[in-house]
Amino acid sequence: MALKKDVRLNWWDKIYLPAVFKGMYITISHFFKTLFTPPSKRYTIEYPDRKKEDIPEWYRGLHRLNTYPDGTLKCVACYCCATACPADAIYIEPEDLEDFDKDHPKEKAPKVFQIDLHRCIYCGFCEEACPKDAIVLTNHYEIVHTSREAGIIGIEDLIKTKREGGE
């Protein structure tokens, strides 16, 4: 059942003009407020001239593949990210390292790990699915390419992505 509010207008309301003037007062007050606010303090950040600095940590931007301190990839090519990816943006080719004897044995690693940034919708499911914390979405939002090929980035580019907050 739809709720219907019984509104009764008195003669003053029925003229409508007071309400119109009230509305016009509100709009003009906003006009002057914005007019006398210096551009740096307005809500709009004029992007190429000024950049947003306080990007929250949970922002989902460019991907990064994490590495161990010794430089080896954390990724084990388990396909969890590729499975979770709703846009089919991740392509993995695994490699059998046959490395069975080390203290931290690593049997499997990606030979090819590509992300098609044009297909990616930055949902963060890959980050969520990753069992090794290998793939993360950083807060870099300036992702621009001049060709479709350049949008498909591999391991070399992904490990070079800076961590959150620069570095």
Binding site: L17, V20, T27, H30, T34, L35
Partner: protein
């Protein structure tokens, strides 16, 4: 040197050129003001990136120029199955009356030089039909819309045009009746007499109801929000759906030119024309006073547009016939009674 050139013929040419250029410049400025004003009202920034030589930003004042250039260079496609002749002349029919109307409006105090009286309006004020001329031309504007909508051979265009014409007819009645009050109080159809009659007390004070009716009808006549039925850019499709390039921009210019003319008319009829305390003691001052008043009314157009939402069509018609028309009649009766028995 200038004194030597001053004779009625050169002055006439001078007036025509200045008024035409001023109106067109004002059109460009109005589009800029519309966009910037809307942005500020909505706490945004608005167009500000068009810069001179790629460096000097000048608050986005270059935007109308850029828009004009863009529209000028757009491909002009003639849609299939349109009525070619009407399709082409419709924007012209819309645009020309809009600019011509301004010819009758006196924009400054008349002055006498070398024994000759000079009037600051293009039409000589002694054409005793000033107000009628304006309404005749204002009525022409809607032809452009109807012809454009019909010639487009598009059902939505013709529907938009139908809405516009119904609206214009409805509100023209109320508007004209409101103006009759002004004509009675001045005792003349001549616009300079009407202005002269307002010396000291502007019509907006004694004929407040008429002023409101005229003001509201003005919005309807120029197809501006909240009566934006001809175009209905956000929800309903308007008469110029099939138009593009310069033909579209003609309609676009006509809308703003209409706004300027309507503002000028409102200033003339209700805000005392070029009258203003102190300022109107000189000719230049009177022109300045007129322009300031005109700009204020113009700003009201923009201001109202970004405040009020659009009416529903039946609401528009109800307002026109059941509220505006009776109100203008009441105004007329009051004014007539006052001048018959009171004044």
């Amino acid at each position: 040197m200038m004194e030597g050139l001053l004779n009625p013929q050169t002055f006439m040419v001078f007036k025509v050129v200045v008024v035409f250029v001023a109106v067109l410049t004002l059109v460009a400025l109005a589009t800029w003001a519309e966009r910037r004003g809307a942005a500020f009202i909505q706490d945004r920034v608005g167009p500000n990136r068009v810069a001179l030589f790629g460096k000097i930003r000048i608050f986005g004042l270059g935007q109308p120029l850029a828009d004009g250039l863009k529209l000028f260079f757009k491909e002009d496609v003639l849609p299939l199955n349109v009525d070619r002749v009407l399709y082409t002349i419709a924007p012209v029919i819309s645009f020309i009356p809009a600019t011509m109307t301004f010819a009758a409006i006196p924009f400054g105090k008349p002055f006498v030089k070398n024994g000759i009286q000079y009037f600051l309006s293009i039409l000589p004020p002694d054409t005793n039909i000033g107000v009628l001329y304006i309404f005749a031309l204002a009525g022409m504007g809607v032809y452009g819309i109807i012809i454009g909508g019909w010639a487009s051979n598009n059902k939505w265009s013709i529907l938009g045009a139908m809405r516009a014409s119904a609206q214009v007819i409805s509100y023209e009645l109320a508007m004209t009746l409101a103006v009759v009050g002004v004509v009675i109080s001045a005792g003349s159809l001549r616009l300079d007499r009407i202005i002269e009659a307002q010396n000291g007390l502007w019509n907006i004070v004694p004929q407040f109801i008429g002023a409101i009716v005229f003001f509201v009808s003005m919005f309807a006549e120029t197809n501006r929000l909240p009566f934006d039925f001809a175009e209905g850019e956000s929800e309903i499709i308007g008469y110029h759906t099939e138009y593009m390039s310069m033909k579209f921009s003609m309609f676009f210019l006509a809308e703003y030119a209409n706004m300027i003319t309507a503002s000028g008319l409102f200033v003339t009829l209700y805000l005392g024309g070029w009258h203003f305390p102190i300022l109107d003691s000189t000719v230049i001052g009177s022109v300045v006073a007129f322009v300031i008043k005109l700009l204020f009314v113009l700003w009201c157009f923009i201001w109202v547009r970004w405040t009020l939402p659009r009416f529903r069509y039946d609401q528009l018609m109800r307002l026109g016939w059941k509220v505006m028309l009776p109100l203008s009649l009441i105004n007329l009766v009051i004014v007539a009674l006052f001048y018959a028995y009171g004044g």
